[in-house]
């Protein structure tokens, strides 16, 4: 088992190294941060550009820059932002709560919407409500989330003035972005809940439960839904990547001060250390989750270990 864990951990570290190399190299192919600093000002001379390159250290050979980045990162230092002069670790830490709040909010909205709607659709198969829910979820999937965001802002914030259009002024600020994110996630989820529940409803144990004379509520709630939950939970876990992608766009629409907005502005201004830092942190998160899953599979199921 130790060998298995060591091999998986080694693999994870190799993936992380490949990702950092790819990002550090890739971001440097897309333009010069020294040039980006002059946006909105006057055309810089070649001399100005060279001076800033020297000050930022971007004139050094790529491998030197990458080596310094790795050496610092191993000591927990992700460098300093070119734009603000602040440590990247601090910038990311400062933004994480806002992004986590939005991710959680979106997930809660999605689950709250998807379970009742999916269950209702499955138990009223082919009824009008089922058709409406299915069409609705298709619509939800087809709307780009930034468009949905702007529409919700126009209706709920501008027209009705129920909620603030953007920013981070209190708990109520979380509602609109969470609903937007939630609608997009729920659209996929509702179809999955419905399909999964329909599948379990056809199983022999549900027939048996019904044959025992249990009330329909108990049959669905206690027997069918619980079993239908498994693929849904797996899916929710896998959705995390998609969730992050949606968050990046929504943070911009809703002026939400999270990691997504930090990433977008860092890419636009070619703030290499910030871009690298965010990718490293996110990659570490995803790799860690996968590693834990792999190891727990190995612990649970001895057959998995054989493959090493």
């Amino acid at each position: 088992m130790l060998r298995y864990i060591a091999a998986r951990t080694g693999g994870a570290l190799a993936v992380l190294a490949a990702i950092t190399l790819f990002v550090a190299f890739g971001v440097r192919l897309t333009g010069d941060p020294a040039v980006a600093q002059f946006e909105g000002g006057t055309p810089p001379s070649a001399e100005d550009i060279a001076r800033i390159q020297r000050a930022l250290g971007t004139n050094r050979p790529f491998l030197t820059q990458y080596g310094a980045f790795v050496a610092d990162a191993l000591r927990g230092n992700l460098g300093t932002s070119f734009r603000s002069g602040q440590p990247v670790v601090a910038l990311i830490a400062e933004r994480t709560p806002a992004t986590l709040a939005l991710a959680t909010g979106g997930m809660v909205v999605a689950l709250l919407a998807a379970f009742p709607l999916g269950t209702y659709a499955a138990t009223h198969r082919n009824a009008l409500a089922d058709v409406l829910i299915r069409v609705g979820s298709l619509l939800g999937l087809s709307f780009p989330n930034f468009w949905l965001g702007i529409m919700l802002i126009l209706i709920v914030a501008v027209r009705l003035r129920w909620l603030p259009p953007s920013g981070y002024s209190g708990p109520e600020s979380l509602i609109l972005p969470s609903v937007t994110l939630g609608i997009v996630l729920a659209s996929t989820l509702v179809r999955l809940v419905r399909a999964s529940l329909l599948d379990t409803l056809g199983q022999p144990y549900v027939r048996t439960a019904r044959a025992k004379g249990l009330r329909e509520r108990v049959v669905i709630g206690r027997h069918a839904l619980r079993n239908a939950l498994l693929p849904v939970v797996t899916f929710v876990g896998l959705q995390f990547g998609a969730l992050l992608g949606g968050i990046v766009i929504l943070e911009t629409v809703y002026a939400w001060p999270g990691i997504g907005q930090l990433a977008v502005s860092a890419v636009v201004t070619r703030d290499y250390p910030v871009v690298q830092g965010i990718v490293v942190v996110l990659a570490c998160g995803v790799i860690l989750i996968n590693l834990l899953v792999d190891i727990s599979y190995g612990l649970l199921n001895p057959r998995v270990r054989v493959g090493v």
């Binding site: 006057t42 001379s45 027209r159 953007s166 329909e216």
Partner: protein, 518 residues
């Protein structure tokens, strides 16, 4: 479970239906008390970008100027009328051809209580011209200064290294804002960048990156206290969201209203739309090393074939001014008597025939894709060029890639887009870096007559002689048709009607001192 689900669905549907119907019927508290009034005399401004640092030497962004001009003062100042006026210096004069002397205002203090004196001025420029300044984009503008000399506590001499006829103007720019020596020495530049201390009419209270910045009134301001009670700047990248904040009454001033949203602001009874011509000009340049752009007949044919005025009145909805040279009419060196080449497709066809360019010839137009207005204009240009027998191929690039890899290495098509704001409002900066041979932005073009005028304007402080050199340059460039100046951009501001005394500044430096709210 199911009945509970039933209930949830019913309630959900009912709420959604109500919301949609109220919205559609145009209900809602449109006529009710706007949240703007509950803010009293405090002001909320929404702007697109957070510059990430408030250190004057570390930025070039217009979004910095919107804020920084209220936190800091320079020796000189330039208001919305763009005329230079005294700031922390009460007077200035050249006491020798290479020494510019300033008399400082007495009794001014930084927000932390430090005195503003000759030592603070010296510290500011030592920092700007030293290693700290080398990290930022501002240093290059001030490299004609050799050093600053303290004469007495309220007199400083700027000793010049080289001629710089634009230095007085530059001293009203961002980089030359006077900063507190003790505070920066104690806390360091990174801290200063997120906790700025200046001498301006407003002082720093709180800053949350990419979210908001709060300022309080500086009651002891040397030029009188501001009328408003406090200011919050909020950073909202999406233009539609900025307009929404304005419509919802949660913001008083919004910067960067896109042309597509201009009507929305205009039609709102609580709002005013204010357009103002900016120093930024958009043009098409020709790369003479790439055929057929080396032929002046081709260049003039392209210019004659496109009806720029129609593009301005349709795509830009009139928010743009036709220009004849690559500088805004606000800039020193602009010959107002020059007229742009007229739209004349027949002449264009004739010129193309003379140059032996076959109908259906493909021409590539490279441009950065971030400017939505230009992207639409480029499509319109495609049909204009088709009408005279040229096939336009559009080649968009991401902005930073375009400016760092494509343009300076002459990897564009024979025609390409270029746009810049001449912040000094003097043609010198733009002209020198764009037409002087071998500059970063000018990898190919060279002309000896152009070089002569550029040297003439740069080596004298005599404004009359400089104007003459610029006018000659304007005409030479016009005859060469080396570029195709399109329009001066017009910035749109959305203002809540409760705001009084707001003047839309051409350079985005909103002066809050004169603003009041009802």
């Amino acid at each position: 479970m199911t009945s509970r689900a039933h209930g949830a669905v019913r309630v959900g549907l009912a709420v959604a239906l109500c919301a949609v119907m109220t919205a559609m019927l145009g209900g809602g508290p449109a006529g009710a008390q706007s949240p703007a009034h509950s803010r009293g005399r405090s002001l909320v401004i929404v702007q697109a970008q957070d510059p990430q640092t408030w250190d004057p030497i570390a930025t070039f962004l217009l979004s910095w100027g919107m804020v920084g001009s209220n936190l800091f003062d320079g020796l000189l100042d330039r208001g919305p009328d763009l005329v230079l006026r005294p700031g922390l210096a009460t007077s200035w004069m050249w006491i020798r051809p290479d020494v510019l002397q300033f008399k400082l205002r007495k009794g001014v203090k930084f927000h932390n209580g430090e005195p503003v004196d000759a030592d603070a001025v010296k510290f500011t420029f030592d920092r700007l011209l030293g290693p700290e300044g080398a990290k930022g984009p501002q240093q290059g503008n001030y490299k004609s200064i050799d050093h600053v000399q303290v004469v007495d506590p309220f007199t400083v001499n700027f000793v010049m290294k080289t001629e710089d006829p634009v230095i007085v103007t530059k001293l009203a720019g961002y980089g030359a804002m006077i900063v507190p020596p003790k505070y920066i020495q104690e806390h360091g530049s990174a801290y200063f960048g997120s906790n700025p201390v200046g001498t301006g009419p407003f002082k720093f209270v709180e800053y949350r990156k990419d979210d908001h910045l709060t300022l309080a009134v500086n009651r002891d301001y040397w030029n009188g206290a501001p009328h408003v009670s406090a200011v919050t700047y909020r950073f909202v990248p999406e233009a539609a969201t900025r307009v929404a904040e304005l419509q919802a009454g949660r913001a008083d001033i919004a910067q960067g209203i896109p042309v597509s949203q201009a009507e929305v602001v205009k039609k709102d009874a609580n709002l005013t739309l204010m357009p103002v011509g900016s120093p930024t000009v958009i043009e098409i340049r020709f790369d003479p090393s790439k055929p057929p752009a080396g032929d002046v007949r081709f260049r003039k044919a392209v210019i004659a074939s496109i009806d720029v005025q129609t593009i301005i009145s349709t795509i830009l909805q009139g928010y743009g001014h036709r220009v004849s040279t690559f500088q805004s009419p606000l800039s020193f060196g602009n010959d107002a008597s020059m007229k742009p080449y007229p739209y004349d497709p027949n002449q264009a066809k004739q010129l193309l025939a003379e140059a032996g360019i076959k109908p259906g010839t493909e021409v590539t137009l490279s441009f950065p894709s971030n400017n939505a207005d230009f992207r639409e204009a480029a499509q319109a240009m495609g049909s204009y060029l088709q009408a005279v027998g040229l096939k336009l191929v559009l080649q968009p690039f991401e902005q930073v890639t375009y400016f760092s890899d494509i343009l300076p290495h002459a990897k564009t098509g024979p025609i390409y887009e270029f746009g810049w704001g001449g912040w000094t409002l003097d043609f010198d900066n733009t002209a020198y870096l764009l037409y002087h041979k071998g500059e970063y932005w000018n990898p190919v073009f060279s002309d000896s007559e152009v070089e002569r005028y550029l040297t003439q304007e740069r080596t004298t402080n005599d404004q009359g002689a400089r104007r003459k050199a610029f006018f000659a340059l304007d005409h030479r460039l016009y005859d060469l048709a080396i570029d195709f100046p399109l329009w001066q951009t017009v910035n749109l501001w959305g203002i809540n009607k409760r705001v009084r005394g707001f003047v839309a500044p051409p350079d985005d430096r909103v002066r809050l001192l004169s603003i009041d709210v009802q």
